[in-house]
Symmetry: C2
Subunit: 339 residues, 2 copies
């Protein structure tokens, strides 16, 4: 069907090696170059990547694995990763695990079959056992957003300083007089949730406030989950003056629930949310949020991986962890209250 390198060698009267050299950016005589280009255009030639990869043992492809595609935070990272890698000639295969640990292992095996040159993983399972076959084959891996303790020495990681982000946001509320602060987090099985919870506890603790269990609500990370939990929270704990929601979806759920309850923000309840600067600014009052450097996370992860994939210095270096900081972006959803 498609033309091969031989066809274009025949057509131009040149040798195979010359065509190959041209295709890979080598120097050939100008007239030959012209001839080759003409032949390529006429025959609609296209390199057979299978053959190339078979020979070079590189697929120029990396796999990106995330728990779900329906999540703005994750897809924002993926978008940036994809962009960065593309600029270096790599393609990206995105897979989601539907939050199921078994699927994670399956998907990683699939990527192994596809012979990806590297993997970026936003872990679904706690221990990411599915990575073992990948690591065994010495394929570089970068973990993103969620730490896996057992791999700390083995793979690069790009993390947010979740503890600090939560600590500082809670302090932000405390400094403005709030003492009864509700917290919405995702499953405690997830690294980021645990860290954020700890950061909140630490700040409250330091302020001498003992936190009733009931102020802390775990959800499934979704808008509707947070909506429900916020309603219950406000029902059961009418004394709360602020709520801290720790991802974007939950923030939306909380905002909607408070509004549907007719609860003024920040008049009656103050809010600190998470992510999506654009929306936070568009709203009235503008939301005060913790803004994660999603794009930076994507770029850093891609760059770490790129370095490891260069056979030169890759394997040698020690595993590296990049810890990024979130920023508090002030809106007007937090009111100063009397102590």
């Amino acid at each position: 069907m498609g033309a091969t390198i031989k066809d274009i060698a025949a057509k131009t009267g040149l040798g195979l090696a010359t065509i190959s050299k041209y295709l890979n950016g080598g120097h050939v005589l100008e007239k030959n170059q012209a001839a080759i280009e003409k032949a390529i255009a006429e025959l609609d030639f296209q390199v057979n990547e299978f053959a190339r990869s078979l020979k070079t043992r590189q697929s120029k492809t990396v796999g990106v694995v995330i728990p779900q595609l329906n999540n703005l935070f994750m897809t924002s990272i993926v978008t940036k990763v994809e962009e960065t890698l593309r600029h270096h000639g790599y393609g990206v295969i995105v897979c989601d695990t539907s939050k199921q640990p078994e699927r994670e292992a399956e998907v990683l095996q699939f990527l192994l079959n596809k012979m990806v040159d590297g993997v970026i993983l936003l872990a679904t399972s706690k221990e990411a056992e599915g990575l073992d076959p990948v690591l065994k084959r010495n394929i570089p891996v970068v973990l993103i957003d969620r730490k896996v303790d057992r791999l700390e020495e083995k793979t690069d990681m790009v993390l947010l300083d979740n503890f600090r982000a939560a600590y500082e946001s809670t302090r932000y509320l405390l400094e403005r007089g709030h003492r009864r602060i509700g917290l919405l987090i995702g499953s405690e099985d997830v690294y980021t949730s645990r860290e954020r919870l700890l950061g909140y506890y630490a700040a409250m603790d330091k302020a001498g406030i003992s936190v009733p269990k009931n102020w802390i609500r775990c959800t499934d990370f979704t808008m509707q989950g947070a909506y429900q939990q916020t309603l219950e929270l406000m029902e059961e704990e009418s004394g709360l003056t602020a709520i801290f929601a720790t991802n974007f979806e939950m923030t939306l759920g909380t905002v909607l629930a408070l509004k549907d309850k007719g609860c003024q923000v920040p008049g009656e309840v103050s809010i600190i949310g998470f992510d999506n600067r654009e929306l936070a600014r568009a709203m009235q009052p503008a939301l005060t949020i913790v803004s994660q450097p999603v794009e930076e996370m994507g770029v850093e992860a891609a760059n770490l991986l790129l370095r490891r994939m260069q056979p030169s210095d890759g394997a040698a270096e020690e595993a590296q962890t990049i810890l990024l900081r979130a920023a508090i972006e002030e809106g007007a959803s937090v009111k100063r209250v009397a102590d």
Copy 2:
């Protein structure tokens, strides 16, 4: 590095062809099968997909191209497509074009290089010119959600009956006494927006209502865009009794804007939104929405493509268009008003 079929042939004392047969599901003697499996486990053998694909001329991979990853509607479809194809042994490469037509052509070329066996496209550009090289190579394509007129005879399509969905939703409002109905749509360059606009017009027209231009607001499909437009709309057209928002993000933006304005729903303004059944039901009052059969769209698209990729009957059949219907899911966000 990795073991090859030869290694396992040597280890078992069997021939290459036998190993190959086993790998591809053929029958071999039980004792040989045992021996092969043992060798595979011991050598940690894994099929080299490059070599396999080079020989079979199949990558067992399909490309899915969408305008952006940060969009729930699109990623829901992708998730379903991926699931369906995976069950048939196909992997999926997801690419987003960042809504840029040039990127669409680039991405399709990239997929061509990766030698995908098929393509599912949610078109970014109006004419999807980037598909031409793909079609030229006789790679099957399925268009999803957005129609491209010039390709109607050439590729399969899975579409929503957008006209009907908008017509019926508008009628739903009209039947409940609303006559001054605002409409939020995306760019008019996009097929779905145009159709939804036409459906709205048709219903209004039939009801004898002439629609001022000002009732119709085009946005960039985003939450924040719709938020802004809703505020302006309510400012300039205080007589409106209902708003129809035509995608999920815009629905959220509208809801938020109305609430921030202190506008009662449905007391002062009724709303019909789009998509995300879960959230719509969680809210109070529950939102009345047009619910698109996203999962069905994904499955249908995947199945159409699977059929075409089977060399047997694929090329022969005529291009097929599947038109799906949306459902109106009643909540309590639409009030009956006096005519």
